[in-house]
Symmetry: C2
């Protein structure tokens, strides 16, 4: 049976009603981790440096410990690193989204979503 | 322990990438069911009649059977009713969101979200 209707949706980690981590923000963290640069990470994600920096500033402010720190000087004119705290935050977020993915798969498998395709319901 | 970080997020029912049911749409269905009128339901939800009708048209088009049908004439100049199919759709959606709420509660209880509040992580 090809399932046509399915449930979808993303979760995010929130503090006092303010978004802390979501898919886009964690993608940003991971790109900074890989590239060692906020500028390179923002290009990778097709967002402006200002937007990327806004997200990072917000995450760092919400978190008790910074997730990303900027480094000055060096041959590349300064870069950015994801702290150990930031790396654990990425891992926690991915554990949660992985559990959420399994939840959605379970719902799609066990709920009668096929109902929405029934054509014989009679009023 | 007061939990400060928590996961949040809503699910929706999708067909071929197009939103079929979400929180707002199901609220609309329920208000039409209670009021017997799209106009009254849209006012209740502080949306325009055009917006409400757009949502209803889209749901009816995506669904194999209509969720809402308009009735002409009568003492109130015509109203709208939620079909039996629509009523079952509301119930299915609420079963799913209820399961999703439990999922979020379980994650919030079992995952170490408190981690994000730790101040002693050392790089």
């Amino acid at each position: 049976m090809k399932q046509i209707f399915y449930i979808d949706g993303n979760i995010e980690i929130v503090k006092n009603g303010q978004t802390f981590l979501n898919e886009k923000r964690v993608a940003l963290l991971k790109h900074v981790k890989n590239k060692g640069s906020i500028n390179a990470a923002s290009k990778e994600l097709k967002m402006s440096y200002q937007q990327a920096w806004h997200f990072i500033k917000e995450m760092n402010e919400i978190s008790p410990l910074p997730l990303i720190v900027r480094q000055r000087g060096g041959s590349n004119g300064g870069g950015a690193i994801v702290t150990k705290h930031g790396q654990i935050a990425i891992k926690r977020y991915e554990d949660i989204t992985s559990a959420h993915k399994k939840f959605k798969e379970k719902i799609n498998a066990t709920f009668d979503l096929f109902f929405f395709e029934q054509r014989y319901t009679v009023d």
